[in-house]
């Protein structure tokens, strides 16, 4: 299981060819309390960097983008029902969607944990 990060503060955690996508702890902290989540449809094919989920905090609107190209195979309805899950457990129960990824090299090209930590330091 490997986890990679984007400069836009999404993570993708790979298990086989399926990646679980969410936003980092740093991102949720910057956004503040989330109050609204809109998820992409299952089956939607996303290009790398394409806007997938819409999120709204008490302060601002933002979006979760696909870190790499892939097909949405599952969305987390729990964060729609309770957006505060993203604040309390962003890299666990507060994930957004799962992508079936065909290009493993694209994942490998994203930041690893050390590089991401350096980015936000």
């Amino acid at each position: 299981m490997t986890t990679r990060y984007t400069e836009d503060h999404e993570y993708i955690r790979m298990e086989g060819d399926v990646g679980t996508v969410g936003i980092t702890h740093h991102a949720q902290d910057k956004l503040g309390d989330l109050v609204y989540v809109e998820q992409p449809k299952v089956g939607r094919r996303l290009a790398a960097g394409e806007e997938a989920s819409i999120i709204e905090s008490v302060k601002a609107a933002a979006e979760v983008k696909a870190p790499v190209a892939g097909e949405v195979i599952e969305v987390n309805e729990a964060v729609v029902a309770d957006p505060s899950l993203v604040n309390s457990d962003p890299e666990g129960a507060g994930w957004f969607f799962k992508l079936r990824v065909s290009d493993a090299a694209a994942v490998a090209a994203l930041h690893d944990e050390a590089a991401y930590k350096a980015l936000i330091a």
């Binding site: 910057k30 309390d33 709204e56 008490v58």
Partner: protein, 381 residues
């Protein structure tokens, strides 16, 4: 995702800046000041805490002025459509500086100490307001800018208990009604206390020497139930209360009638009143009061059907897709537990119950015109 830009080093600081940082606040630039947008509690909980207990706000960035002299009230009446002469001692009143076009230059609070008028204006407007006052009535009264004063707001159902707990004579707090005030000793400091605020809750605004402000703030924060509250919750609280934010819901183009602020214009300043008119833009402002058909757009509350927040700048369309208005304030209302929106719409669409569409990310999203406030006011009348 994008991180906010770092704060500029040229920002001004209030006397409580070090305390905000010590309390773990996230600081952001606001009206030229480095201000706390939230504390570790977070905007949502800070908002709810203010409605259930008591919240302490640093509003020292706002401008505090004194107008002194026998002609001060009459002079100020030439700039606001408000009864200042009739404002009794120890009473406070909401007012508007209007311009010649009948628009609004700023909104303000006027308190009559009995000896002079204590005026509080918005931070972003204070330099312009001071210049305006000096140019227009500087010869008729003594205008003193009190940059040496800080201002705190204590808001919420437990504000009275908290404030009286640090008052030398607690009864002095209990006896104040909404929009009344007095000089009261708190935490052994001389303070000017008014029973007012901008959250819709019972509460107080406390003017105190800048040098004493931190002592007062710490004394209040030591009272159980009092939490520091940042600008984020201040905004959602005032929005739920249906109150205008200057520069957003009211500005130099909006008239009092359009902004639904006719209640701020007392009878004595209206047509037929003893001191009717005599303020900038009186022709338009009183004309719209006398003949509502002249008002072409109105500020209204809007309730979205869904849960998506709708924010400032979103266009409002009628069923045919024609633009009929725009959102001027919008966000999530934690007490309402849903999105709350205010904006301007053409008069034909302003009646409560009217359904229109907010163009959210290009998609028509149904919203209904509703009466404000969104959260009931709980002032001590």
């Amino acid at each position: 995702m994008s991180a906010p830009a770092p704060a500029s080093s040229t920002l001004l600081q209030t006397p409580l800046h070090a305390l905000h940082v010590e309390l773990g606040a996230r600081m952001v630039p606001f009206a030229g000041y480095d201000m706390p947008v939230q504390y570790p509690l977070g905007v949502l909980k800070e908002h709810l805490h203010t409605r259930s207990d008591a919240g302490l706000f640093d509003v020292s960035h706002m401008g505090q002025l004194e107008l002194r002299g026998p002609d001060a009230a009459a002079a100020l009446e030439t700039l606001v459509p408000v009864d200042v002469i009739g404002l009794g001692a120890k009473r406070q009143r909401y007012a508007l500086f209007t311009n010649d076009a009948g628009g609004i230059l700023d909104d303000l609070m006027i308190f009559n100490t009995g000896e002079y008028l204590h005026v509080v204006v918005n931070a972003a407007c204070k330099d312009a307001d001071i210049a305006h006052l000096r140019a227009k009535i500087g010869a008729r009264c003594d205008i003193r800018v009190r940059a040496d004063l800080a201002l705190l707001a204590l808001q919420g159902p437990r504000a009275e208990a908290a404030l009286s707990a640090i008052a030398r004579i607690p009864e002095r707090i209990f006896e104040l009604g909404f929009m009344q005030g007095d000089f009261i000793e708190l935490a052994e400091l001389d303070c000017l206390v008014t029973r007012s605020g901008y959250t819709g809750e019972d509460g107080f605004e406390i003017s105190v020497a800048a040098d004493d402000c931190e002592t007062l703030a710490r004394a209040l924060l030591a009272v159980p139930g009092v939490q520091p509250i940042g600008l984020g919750a201040r905004d959602s609280l005032r929005l739920e209360a249906g109150l205008c934010l200057y520069g957003h819901d009211i500005d130099t183009t909006t008239s009092p009638a359009e902004a639904n602020l006719n209640w701020a214009i007392q009878k004595v300043r209206r047509a037929g009143g003893e001191r009717a008119g005599g303020f900038p833009g009186a022709e338009r402002i009183l004309g719209e009061l006398a003949d509502p058909a002249r008002v072409t757009r109105k500020r209204v509350g809007l309730k979205p059907e869904g849960r998506a927040p709708i924010r400032e700048g979103v266009a409002l369309h009628d069923a045919s897709g024609r633009a009929v208005g725009v959102v001027t304030s919008g966000g999530f209302g934690p007490s309402v537990n849903g999105p709350v929106v205010m904006g301007y719409v053409e008069a034909a669409h302003a009646a409560v119950g009217t359904r229109i569409d907010a163009m959210l990310r290009g998609t028509p999203t149904p919203v209904t015109v509703v009466a404000m406030p969104f959260a009931p006011h709980r002032y001590k009348r």
